[in-house]
Amino acid sequence: MAFEPKEPQKKLKYKELRIYSDEELNNYTEEELKDFKCKHDIPDLDELEKGPWPSFVADAKREALHRRKLAEDRMMVGRDVVEDLMGILQLSFDHGETHWKHGGIVGVFGYGGGVIGRYSDVPEQFPSIVHFHTLRVNQPNSKFYNTDYLRTLCDLWEYRGSGMLNMHGSTGDIIFLGTTTEQLEPVFYELGHVLQQDLGGSGSNLRTPSCCLGKARCEWSCIDTQDMCYELTHFYQDELHRPAFPYKFKFKFDGCPNGCVASIARADMSFIGTWKDNIRIDQEAVQAYIGGELKPNAGAHSGRDWGKFDIQKEVINLCPTKCMWMEDGKLMIDNKECVRCMHCINVMPRALRPGSDTGCSILCGGKAPILEGAQMSMLTIPFMKCEPPYDNIKDVVDKIWDWWMEEGRNRERLGELIQRHGVPKFLEILDIPPMPQMVTEPRSNPYIFWKEEDVEGGWKRSIEDYRARHKR
């Protein structure tokens, strides 16, 4: 099978698009790099070059040297941006305080997000990073790349920006770190016209959705994470670029309950792949695990000698609902008692596979602590078929947004609105009935907000009738 893009995709060939020649790209020697000294004194950063883990300082010095040796007219922002950034970082270590000012209203015409204004509060000391704005570039879903695309991006960002970036930011975007106000529109223009590539979200709008690698290279994914993510990102471009929400809103797509993109913890709407039929069992492979011919856990625990694999102890006894047992040498599962936690499948991937009648669970309201404390997403819709163009899912999204945009206070996330108005109100908005699966246990206080229509005869009563029965 193959998935089709919304718009035909321009084939990007680096050799046709590039700015820098090979000579320019390889313009310093290893000796020069060893001798490189930053123009600022940066003892704490130098210290961070030691140790085995990749040093971001060592990397920064490469770019600093590379820029020093490029011709003056081969970059549109200051030559010293990397050295000044290292300098300001050292100054922040010295002071124990950041030196980036608060915000700044910059952006590209017509968008309310995608660019974050950033100014230094020590402009004289570090003149090349006085403006140092961020652009968020919407990553291809699940972050596979080819080198034509990446190299073209590098040339663009070295020419019109600092040459420093994040691969990737927490939400998933490629983050371009640092350029001048003047270069924001040119970068956006080149991204759109040459790379057919858009910015991501920031501010009170839909943030760039992200997903796990799904069926591209995982046998457990129950949904086409990339396709869902791509479709919803494209469908909701207006909401992504033009802030009209009370606060940020995040979609994340996990292919299975292992949750590799942490959607439960950090998405207002978490879409998590699941199944509603039976776990597929290959009994011969079960025997091969028991007999020691297959490595349990796909080798994930092989760094330590944990002894011989014991299916009773390691799988059956750890099953959270105790719905597995051995019978006549066969592994049995009572699937209606299974909560699809993935443990048995993780331990014996060659013997057990998720079912084949798949879809997603939708959980709502996850967020980090600001303002009312951290929340995880709440199980809202147990199972949803996921087929393009995902109209059933868009319907749910639209209902939630209509309510949240109407009722949400400034900077109130969906999870906080659900708490403030109560889950029953949320279910009414979604037009779905309640189910015990939405809670870990029923309430222990009896303070029920009965509605008038719930109560026989309504609430309108006459005090005279009451007094006819009860004297004052």
């Binding site: 140790g51 060592a58 040459g163 970036l165």
Partner: protein, 395 residues
């Protein structure tokens, strides 16, 4: 159309709307899948971790894809990406992938190519000695730390991110390269409790924290901030309207009510919180997001404050290592850090990790009652004897 080199490129500031393209969205993912990934999409049968950082996925077509996972820095330069491209061109037909946790994955289709790639990756070091592409981060070990911007590019941090991550990963490097732990340990880092890194469900979370209430810049506040918004932004209602002696509108802060969340500063630049002595690191532990065996959990605050001792944060590194080592020595196979702490009891967690329990660790925010222990089931540790002694219950 090649990338432009004119100062403003093809953009014409006099006619900003001319030829403007918007709402393109991300590029389509399919073209970036290597041919073997396209061919076997949705057909993968199983995978195996051959050694730390090296995976093979086997398809029902019989195809195998070998993946090598390398630790990387979230902050990188175009020079680093070009080197990644050089490797991808040399070994992987020009394809490469990044993971959610800032790792880099190179994929090849034969064991021979995989061996050559491995050798190449481990041979690449920065001139100052650190690995450029260390292989690891799979299975029951520590993988890369997801983190936030810190002093590199943020206006609200209470600590730095890239430096702390570098220091902690240097210390945990053996765990990155090995799969010797009872289960995976996910370490995450956020520089303030805005938590753009959403670290609140991690096995170990490192969190920058302020401890001094905002300083009010009375001279400018009325001019640069919406006073009602600043007042409304405070979750504890500690901010109220005020006037300076010369009659300027400003706000005042009931300092004893401040919980140092910094939400007011997000709304208003005239109430900065940051301070060298006030700022530092909080450590949380025992969270997870996977649904495996037990349900997802929040991380719990286990160390209220450690100083920002730049650039290597020795107190933070030492605490993280103590927690990981106590967990490695004591937890059962498959038990995540939080599951272990719950099984042995949090009182034993503090004892085994040699971490003092202070009053700051007892919740006194809203709904704190949920965390009170309303049972006679507990274990005796030194902390318990101290209470009994203090209350006159024992000698």
């Amino acid at each position: 159309m090649a990338l432009s080199t004119e100062k403003l490129g093809r953009y014409n500031p006099d006619k900003p709307m001319e030829n403007r393209i918007t709402d393109l969205g991300p590029r389509h993912f399919w073209q970036y899948f290597p041919p073997i990934i396209q061919k076997n999409y949705g057909k993968w049968l199983y995978h195996e971790i051959l050694e730390s950082g090296v995976l093979v996925h086997v398809s029902e077509t019989g195809d195998k894809v070998y993946t090598i996972r390398c630790g990387g820095c979230r902050f990188m330069t175009v020079q680093n990406i070009r080197e990644i491209c050089e490797i991808a061109d040399k070994h992987c037909d020009g394809y490469v992938r990044f993971t959610t946790r800032n790792n880099i994955e190179f994929m090849v289709d034969t064991p021979e190519k995989m061996e050559a790639l491995k050798k190449d990756l481990m041979s690449r070091k920065h001139v100052s000695g650190s690995y450029k592409f260390p292989i690891g981060g799979t299975g029951a070990g520590v993988t890369n730390i997801v983190h936030t911007q810190g002093y590199i590019h943020c206006h609200t941090p209470a600590t730095d991110a890239s430096s702390m991550v570098k220091a902690v990963m240097d210390d945990l490097f053996d765990y990155f390269q090995g799969m010797t732990l009872p289960a995976q340990v996910r370490v995450s880092m956020a520089c303030c409790l805005n938590m753009c890194g959403a670290v609140h469900c991690s096995d170990i979370a490192l969190l920058g924290y302020h401890r001094k209430p905002p300083i009010v810049d009375d001279e400018v506040l009325g001019g640069v901030c919406e006073i009602p918004l600043v007042i409304a932004s405070c979750p504890t209602g500690a901010i109220s309207p005020s006037k300076t002696e010369d009659g300027k509108k400003t706000v005042k802060i009931k300092e004893e009510r401040c919980m140092f969340c910094g939400n007011c500063y997000t709304m208003c630049s005239a109430v900065p919180l940051t301070d060298k002595e006030g700022d530092g690191v909080t450590i949380l532990a025992g969270g997870k997001i996977s649904n495996r065996i037990t349900t997802p959990k929040f991380s719990k605050v286990v160390v209220p404050f450690l100083p920002n001792n730049f650039p290597r944060f020795p107190e933070v590194c030492d605490t993280v290592k103590r927690i990981v080592e106590a967990y490695a020595a004591d937890a059962n196979k498959y038990e995540r850090l939080g599951d272990w702490a719950e099984r042995i009891g949090w009182e034993k967690f503090f004892e085994k990790c040699d971490i003092p329990f202070t009053e700051h660790l007892i919740d006194d925010y809203r709904l704190s009652y949920d965390t009170y222990r309303t049972s006679t089931q507990f274990k005796y540790t030194e902390a318990a004897w101290e209470v009994s002694r203090a209350a006159g219950g024992i000698e």
